[in-house]
Amino acid sequence: MIEIKDLSKRYGNFQALDGISMTIDAGTVFGFVGPNGAGKSTTMSILATLLLPDSGIAKVSGFDVTKHPKEVRRRIGYMPDFFGVYDRFKTDEYLHFYGASYGIARSEREKLIPQLLELVNLSDKKEAYVDGLSRGMKQRLCLARSLVHDPEVLILDEPASGLDPRARIEMREILKELKRMGKTIIISSHILPELAEMVDQIGVIEHGRMVAQGKVSDIQSRLRVNRVLHIRTLARQEELAAKLRDEAHVSRVLSDANGIQVHFSGQDVEQMQLLRRVLDWEYEVVSFNEAQTNLEDVFLEITKGGAAT
């Protein structure tokens, strides 16, 4: 469905993309992870026919983005990371405009737009002016806009950025529904946990290079090689911290007002054994949990793995 080979793009002295390659099969939800400036938006802009690569090839449904941009546009729904809306439009007028821009007849749009508004939970905002919508609603409206021509592929650049937790959950639910509808989705984020739940495959990009690519479960298990545990006790925290330093698989222990932070290289079994030992020592454990893996950890782990192979 999406094929990218040796794609490169340079802005002046800055190498935004440095020969990235990937393939995304039809019906796959592909998570594109990387820090700001890694090249996610550039790759997506090239796929959306908004940018030309300096070299390499990008194809959507077999159509080269540089040779057949019109065919590509027909097949993609694009939602940029930053987007504006025409403030003086009403919500349904906004969708009518884009529907007409894709050549959809008015009678067809009259049937389609209520369905789209329902999908993104904006049915009650049909008559509302776009500038009166919250950021989350605007994001959902933009998502509905990207679906107006029933594209095969959705290119969503940080669709949940700047949203409050509730709006993020709503956006996630909509994406799950789109996944169920069989859309091929390429979605970017700089927060891995945000993507982990909904994507089938993941690609990690840094400095314009694909650092790792594969199934989420593979990447996650790889990341779990070095985990951070948070332990909180009612009393004797320093004593426990000192004991933990001598434990196997523990590389580092920090103790502060928030509790004990343990850098642990064991697997689930070793983690369970550590917890059992702490309880056997009769410490009053309030909490014992694993910190969510953030992007820096991802990069750290993958880069280490790369060096080892």
Binding site: E3, F83, F97
Partner: protein, 329 residues
């Protein structure tokens, strides 16, 4: 849920971008304020002119406002309107593309099925349509001229057609700058710069060249049939407009037969204006249409047509660190 679509959206006459521009432009009070101010300025100019003229004539002819004076009023109004158009058109067009870019709506528009030419021309025509509305709104002011006589409706129609062409010219330059320059403020400055060049620089250049040419023109034994200096005035909108009122001005501009005006001008000023700037309009629109989207360059055909050829991207799809990252370490 089915999201099937069919081709054939939009009206035959109004494409979606034009429709959107029409709707949104009239939903802001700014448009109505601009219209009001424009008509007021022209109306005050006409009333002021009549007041001053009748005041001057009062002592001579008892407050009469005869057709010859009304003809002068028509000229004054027409030139004032041309200057107002020169002020308004760049303001309306120089931000249409860069403004969308700044509002971050352009990228979304560019991923639709609308062609570059449809986007550029719709934006231009919607801006010009508003200018036409403004100019038509001044017709009641022109009715003062008809009240006193001295001007034929065909002259008025010609002047309005000339305005239309001038708007098209300035609008095309505005939209070209709006496409080339990322920021609206730069685009506006550049468009006003070009407008100033067309209106002021050509006029000043004509006057300077005329002074130089006239010095040498009469010193020769056999003066040429006409002077090239008229071609400079043919680039000036005011010169071209006056040549519509007074066809004889073309001969004067070209110093035909050393000024005895018996011969014919090589070309009427308005016609030269039309021909030269038609090329400029086409060129400016071509640049705007070319620049709005990235342009595909000729490149070497790659053997990537078959997705699984050789070392395809599929190989990279395996979970492994990328080559480049290894090199980095």
């Amino acid at each position: 849920m089915s999201l099937k679509n069919k081709a054939g959206g939009g009206s035959l006459w109004i494409n979606p971008v034009l429709d959107k521009e029409f709707r949104l432009r009239m939903r802001t009070p700014r448009s109505f304020v601009a219209l009001l101010i424009y008509v007021m300025v022209l109306g005050l100019l006409a009333i002021g002119f009549i007041y001053v003229t009748t005041g001057l004539q009062d002592q001579q002819s008892g407050g009469r406002f005869d057709p010859s004076v009304s003809r002068v009023l028509f000229y004054v109004l027409s030139i004032a309107q041309l200057v107002l158009i020169a002020f308004m058109t760049p303001a309306l067009t120089a931000g249409v593309i860069s403004g969308e870019r700044e509002k971050q709506t352009l990228n979304i528009l560019l991923t639709t099925q609308q062609s570059s030419s449809a986007i550029v021309l719709s934006k231009l025509f919607s801006s010009l349509a508003f200018m036409v509305l403004i100019v038509l709104a001044t017709l009641p002011v022109y009715s003062i001229v008809f009240l006193y006589g001295g001007i034929s409706p065909s002259q008025l129609a010609l002047v309005f057609l000339f305005y239309l062409f001038t708007m098209l010219l300035l609008g095309a330059l505005g939209i070209m700058c709006s496409t080339i320059f990322k920021r609206t403020i730069i685009s506006v400055i550049m468009t006003y710069g070009m407008t100033m060049f067309i209106f002021a620089a050509t006029g000043v250049a004509y006057l300077l060249m005329l002074a130089i040419v006239q010095q040498s023109y009469y010193s020769g034994t056999v003066p040429p049939k006409y002077s090239w200096v008229g071609f400079i005035l043919g680039l000036n909108p005011v010169g071209a407009l006056v040549s519509i009122f007074e066809p004889g001005i073309s001969k004067q501009a070209f110093l035909v037969n050393s000024g005895n005006l018996q011969g014919k001008a090589p070309i009427a000023l308005w016609l030269q204006f039309l021909l030269v700037y038609s090329v400029v309009i086409v060129g400016a629109l071509w640049v705007a249409i070319r620049r709005i989207r990235p342009v595909r360059r000729k490149r070497r055909e790659d053997d990537f047509d078959a997705p699984n050829n050789g070392a395809s991207a599929g190989e990279v799809a395996e979970m492994k660190p990328a080559e480049g990252m290894k090199n980095d370490k």
